[in-house]
Symmetry: C2
Subunit: 192 residues, 2 copies
């Protein structure tokens, strides 16, 4: 990598980490592009050259863990759908217990509703890939006879992930491993 | 009602309707307290005397339809839980097809995540009452033997309303009567 590219990459990483730091420390509403720039040690114009908004910075920051991979990993497929989905939802519980990810994910979930360009980016880079790997796992369960062949996969996804999302975003109760397991059991019983 | 109170009530209504108009026309992000005041023909200070933020104005505006009633109406209880829940979810579909309610409800659902005082008000005046009438209907179904007596009511509420909320907020698919019916059938099959 030439020096200029390496410097760019270093700035990019500093900006993404500064955005995560600030959202964790002062909240999304009080995080400004100016503050991100100051913390990352770059000029505000550097940020605006690469991203249209602070929401767009955050979206990239949330994708740091999957950089270097070839996109989103498929869901586990051991042949036991309930067990696999419990692993997935429990992993989400663990992730959301970490304020470094909970606060920005919450901010992004709401910001996309007010920003159509960010919504498109989220659809393309986060929601779309997640939907594809979920459908893939459900189709494999259909092929294995674990779910009806004529099941509406979009309804199935809402039924497994919707209750969890509802509780998370509305704060109507605690997210726990036991809750993740109960949702999976009830949703799958309803879908079979 | 004395004249001054009548004038106050007239201003209050004008402010709430102006807020709904503006959110429908220009979106929540571009709706300012100044613009609400101008459209309602009152001074900005009048709004700040009664409400701490534009989100708080919107919350009151969304409660206009239930004013004059004694709070939130109970859910229908014909003795057939599935049929009653379908009526309820279909009514929500109809409500959300109306941009006058969809846009402010969407704004409120996200604004509460950034504003703890508004979150408390929403919990007390909207979410709390809704949760109570939902639990009440589910308890009646338990008493009638339609649901297990040891069912976790909070999980049951997430399972019936969560998929719908997920699809609505993420825009992952159309809301329709057929979808409402399918969610109720699958959720209840899973809870039984």
């Amino acid at each position: 990598m030439p020096n200029a590219a390496r410097r760019s990459e270093r700035s990019r990483r500093a900006i993404l980490n500064a955005a995560l730091d600030l959202v964790e420390e002062v909240g999304y509403a009080k995080t400004s592009v100016e503050a991100i720039a100051a913390r990352a040690g770059v000029g505000k114009q550097t940020i605006y050259r690469w991203w249209p908004s602070k929401g767009a910075v955050l979206l990239d920051a949330l994708l740091i863990p999957s950089e270097g991979d070839h996109g989103v990993e498929p869901l586990p497929d051991t042949g036991d759908l309930a067990a696999d989905l419990k692993v997935v939802l429990r992993a989400t519980v663990a992730e959301l217990e970490n304020p470094r990810y909970d606060a920005p994910m919450r901010a992004l979930a709401t910001e996309i509703l007010h920003d159509p360009a960010l919504h498109d980016a989220w659809r393309e880079r986060i929601d779309g890939p997640l939907t594809r790997i979920r459908e893939e796992r459900l189709r494999s369960a259909q092929a294995a006879g674990e779910l009806p062949g004529d099941l509406d996969l979009s309804l199935a996804i809402d039924l497994v992930w919707g209750p969890f999302f509802h509780r998370w975003l509305q704060g109507s109760g605690p997210l726990s491993d036991a809750y993740a397991d109960a949702v999976v059991d009830a949703a799958l019983a309803g879908l079979r």
